[in-house]
């Protein structure tokens, strides 16, 4: 389910786990759009991806640790997005956010399409970049 682009003017509190290329970019975009953003990453060096204008919070820590998530303000978050390199880490953190902290909107990146299907069936909103990108390329080639 792709999210619609129309961001309403109300300010949301968003926790992002993983400050890689996607996580860093998304955090930057949401921050610029006026939302309250907290980014979590195990490696402080990842935060170089955030621009000097970034007004959110960057926290060093493990997003699969319940205590760390609480520190990141998960209990008050409107949305949680799991974007680390590890499918299992994403799945676990997303389920903690969804089942334990009842975050209203949780989105989880799962590279492995089979694993994505299983967790979609369990009610976790998931995106497989593998699937999305392969589809995109397939459609472009088909159009030639």
């Amino acid at each position: 389910m792709p999210r619609t682009k129309a961001v309403k003017s109300n300010k949301k509190t968003i926790v992002i786990m993983g400050c890689g290329r996607v996580g860093g970019k998304l955090a930057t975009m949401l921050d610029a759009a006026g939302h309250k953003v907290t980014v979590l990453d195990l490696d402080a060096y990842s935060f170089r991806r955030l621009p000097p204008t970034f007004s959110g919070t960057a926290l060093i820590g493990n997003g699969t640790d319940e205590d760390m998530l609480r520190k990141a303000g998960i209990a008050e978050a409107d949305a949680f997005i799991a974007l680390t390199q590890g499918d299992n880490r994403n799945v676990m953190a997303a389920q903690i956010a969804h089942n334990i902290f009842k975050v209203p909107r949780v989105i989880c990146r799962i590279y492995d399409p089979l694993r994505k299907d299983i967790y979609e069936q369990l009610g976790l909103e998931s995106i497989s970049p593998t699937e999305v990108f392969a589809d995109l390329l397939f459609n472009r080639i088909e159009k030639i």
Binding site: T64, D87, M92, I100, D112, R115, I118
Partner: protein, 222 residues
């Protein structure tokens, strides 16, 4: 006993000794391990009971015949991997029993909530023993009934016990607590009745609940 088909994720120390014990009890065991060298060593030691692969991947688990597995035990050092193996086993392959090693003790509660049947936390297990060995705590937990609130505890009556010289009938014990056994030096173990009076150094085995434990402790130990 019926021989079970048991799949173990992770061929480290726990996976190895677990497999050895289960094989000797006549069960069918398969270890799934990512590392080729670990796999070879396991096969050398235990015979052909190891498969190389990622124990979180549906294709690998399918090849391992997880459909007919009775138990899946995930023993890796990564909690997230243990969680996903157990969930895929349970929800995709309908494995009736899943057991996960939990490295961060806080995850025990979370895993149960997320559908893992049983969790083992080494840290919590050690902590319980540490607390049992400290003599300043004369109430010792012997056993917790799984799935219930009941537990079996041992108490040693100290010098300053308010129960000294009183009979069982005079003590105000919680209704859900039973004094099951009295062990006294030089006497046979016996079941105390309402006439029984307690002496210093009596060892008492009681069946109680987590809620009533404190009241029992106060009545017998002060």
């Amino acid at each position: 006993m019926k021989a079970l088909y048991i799949v173990i994720i992770g061929g480290g120390n726990i996976g190895y000794y677990l497999s050895k014990a289960l094989l000797s009890e006549g069960h069918e065991v398969l270890i799934i391990e990512k590392d080729t060298r670990k796999c070879e060593r396991l096969e050398d030691e235990l015979g052909s009971c190891c498969m190389r692969g990622d124990g979180c991947e549906t294709a690998v688990l399918s090849e391992a015949g997880l459909n007919r597995a009775d138990v899946l035990i995930s023993t890796t050092a990564q909690d997230e991997d243990n969680l996903v193996s157990c969930q895929v086993a349970r929800y995709r392959f309908k494995v009736p029993r899943t057991i996960a090693l939990v490295n961060n003790p806080i995850n025990e509660k979370i895993f149960k909530e997320l559908g893992v049947d049983a969790t083992i936390s080494v840290t919590n297990a050690i902590l319980e023993h540490v607390e049992q060995e400290i003599p300043a705590h004369p109430l010792i937990h012997l056993l917790t009934m799984s799935g219930h609130m009941e537990e079996v505890v041992e108490l040693i009556i100290p010098k300053e016990s308010p129960a000294l010289g009183k009979s069982m009938g005079q003590l105000r014990l919680p209704a859900d607590t039973t004094i099951a056994l009295l062990l006294r030096d030089g006497e046979k173990p016996r079941i105390p009745d309402i006439e029984t009076t307690f002496k210093e150094n009596d060892r008492i085995i009681a069946l109680t609940t987590i809620d009533s434990e404190k009241i029992l402790e106060k009545a017998l130990l002060g």
